[in-house]
Symmetry: C3
Subunit: 312 residues, 3 copies
């Protein structure tokens, strides 16, 4: 069996669609690439990546752009809605047909509407990678997150993972929870009631035998965690400004909030951050988020290469 | 005579400026390229294309960008007005001088002002290709349109072509009419009175002996046409909203509107479309617009190569 | 000593930080490159330039982008604030860490906040080049300006240089004054009182023994100058509209304003211009500003190559 039989020509639209073996294959690929830097350079020479970012994202866009170019691909598309056909009312269907006509070998799609990537995958024969859509899914980020956990601990099994912030609308949290459901982990969702993890996610975890509980305050569990995954609580999600200020303070992660934490705790964050993760963590051993961020580039190189069947 | 003597160093600012032979040379080039895919890759290596899109257009921008990069060119400039000097009030003259100073080998200019590309061609020694300007001209789109017609029928002569929509302000329609004036075709302009084709276009057709008539409703001629070229009626062109709703309905092309059409009818559209062309046509034999769109890439490769004298 | 010992790995954040020898080394590099065109092509193959333009600038962005690509570098980042993480409130620190993680070999930073490039240089081990920040510094433009002066006269020493316009807030003027402080020149600052050169600049000139005086009107000194460096007076700097109209007229440079000028006078302008420099100068021997603008590309190639230690 070819090493990428599971990935060749495949769409990546939900972390739900991948099994443990597949996550491990991608992470292994990144670890190999880190040992043999440059080994994928030019592996997809002559191919074309269409990056269609209907919603802007410097971080995800740049990692895909640099990944594709290091692989030798040409890059086309747009980094945000300005100037794109979408402002003239063109449908996603027609935009995809256009880039298919121009020879796109893969679509990388960021969209504010839930299900946009899935829809794209259904109507196009070209592989579609979601770069985040709606408030549900950001599957490649989940792969990056898993990679950062394994890099810190050498394993994923056996860890206690806290996920904190806006779990209801935060797409990275859902995707990471789906990914973690393939491992023997113990998850605590830490959020105000209004922003707790959605039922379809907790139900899947239960089906797959993963222990998951809900907490309203970090301080109740800070001492038990191996991994703390922090995400932002967006002001617009909490209609009452007084309530927002209260919530914001309760979920800000700083050294004081980690007073009881294990010395081996690793803090992750998909970034960008605003106030929810204090810079006083940056120079401590807790900080794993810059390692995590840097993993975005090799991981996306490996993933593109698996999907498009490059050499190396 | 060199095969590109007619094109070497030439500006492309109006479809009026080209003769039948020249349109055929470009189309022939595309047909050759389709037979020998990759034969132009790298032909303009080291040259620089300055894409100056003062008005955004994903479709035209992307096709020129990918075309230039496949030819081996570097690409600079901007895909829309945001961030461009134009927002600081710089003149087109100074913007051109800047990119000339940076070594641009060709300008591709999209501008909302009529005549901008012609002006650029007059003041610059560097070849200028219009990528659409004002409401008058989009000459490379006309070449793409001709190509799509020939691809469908093997010829252009002898066809009955209907052009429908906003013919007064739609730049692709004028340019296609100019291009068609070199062929033995029969044209019907289908539009409400307020948006009928401009006199300077119909006069040129008359001078060149092309039969052209005006119609106010598609249903009167749908059964006779070989080609139906559909364009959008923009809401802002019809001041009265009630009138707009009426007109919009009358000029929407869907299967019902094509009930009387010949089975061999081909529907073209420069895209993007909104409501004026129904997706119920997409999977029928009428639909030629995705083939047409895909032609934009090889056609622009061939054109750049003829103008810049690449090998191959 | 290696030819680029003074530049290898170095930050370029202020023209104050460079000595005469170093300015001359860069200019000499440009003159060499003009003699041996193409000699630096591909010299930095495989390296990555992160262009972070938090403030848009077609001219500076394009020259860095083309320079980097001609050197063989990949380019990433953003050409303006739209779509960048900055709109989500990410700090400059985190943006830099992201691109460090993606392997950036150099940062080129344009920012509206004074000191942004200096701050970036302090927190990052990756070389930082300012592409203009706040109203204080644009060091690579000053190098381009010096180059244009030397190209016109074969030397910088012994020249009488007038600097006109908004000297208080114009970043190119401060940077050029710093650069000129290393040469034996005679400077006249021509501006309304409210926009005269800042004390820290005139004090540095004094310390370094450069003669500098202030004038309120061009006509008082037009006949003495070898070089006239023109910059824009922005409307928003002069609160009183009547006052603005008066000032604007007084500082507009056109043939009439240069009636008394020496035939050998050279007019420079960092561009883009609006009304402050009349196009009636363009075709005269006074105009050095298009030569100056074109110098931006080779100069930035030479500078990147010195800093990143490329071959050639």
């Amino acid at each position: 069996m070819s090493p990428n039989a599971d990935f060749l020509g495949r769409d990546v639209v939900s972390a739900r669609d991948f099994k443990r073996d597949q996550f491990e294959q991608v992470i292994q690929g990144v670890e190999d690439l880190e040992k043999r830097r440059g080994s994928l350079d030019g592996a997809l020479k002559g191919k074309l990546a269409a990056l269609l970012f209907f919603e802007p994202s410097t971080r995800t866009y740049s990692s895909f752009q640099i990944a594709a170019e290091k692989l030798g691909m040409r890059v086309s598309g747009f980094a945000g809605p300005t100037g794109s056909s979408i402002t003239k009312g063109e449908t996603l269907h027609d935009t995809l047909r256009m880039f298919e006509g121009y020879g796109a070998d893969v679509f990388v799609i960021r969209h504010s509407k839930m299900g946009a990537a899935r829809f794209a995958a259904e109507i196009s024969d070209t592989p579609v990678i979601s770069a985040g859509d709606g408030s549900r899914e950001h599957p490649t980020q989940a792969m990056v997150d898993l990679y950062a956990i394994r890099k810190a601990f050498g394993r994923v099994d056996g860890l206690k993972v806290g996920m904190l912030g806006d779990l209801r609308y935060g797409r990275t949290s859902s995707s990471l929870a789906y990914a973690l459901s393939n491992f023997d982990v113990d998850i605590t969702f830490i959020a105000p009631d209004a922003l707790q993890m959605r039922p379809e996610v907790t139900q899947l975890l239960k089906q797959r035998g993963v222990t998951a509980k809900k907490e309203s305050a970090l301080k109740n569990v800070a001492g038990e965690l191996d991994v703390l995954y922090v995400t932002r609580i967006q002001k617009e999600r909490i209609p009452d400004p007084t309530e927002y200020e209260k919530v914001k303070g309760m979920y800000e992660v700083n050294l004081e909030a980690l007073r009881e934490a294990k010395p081996s705790l690793k803090v992750l964050h998909p970034l960008p951050r605003v106030d929810e993760l204090s810079t006083d963590i940056d120079d401590t051993n807790y900080a794993q988020y810059f390692v995590q961020a840097a993993g975005g580039l090799p991981l996306r190189m490996v993933l593109l290469n698996l999907i498009l069947g490059g050499v190396g």
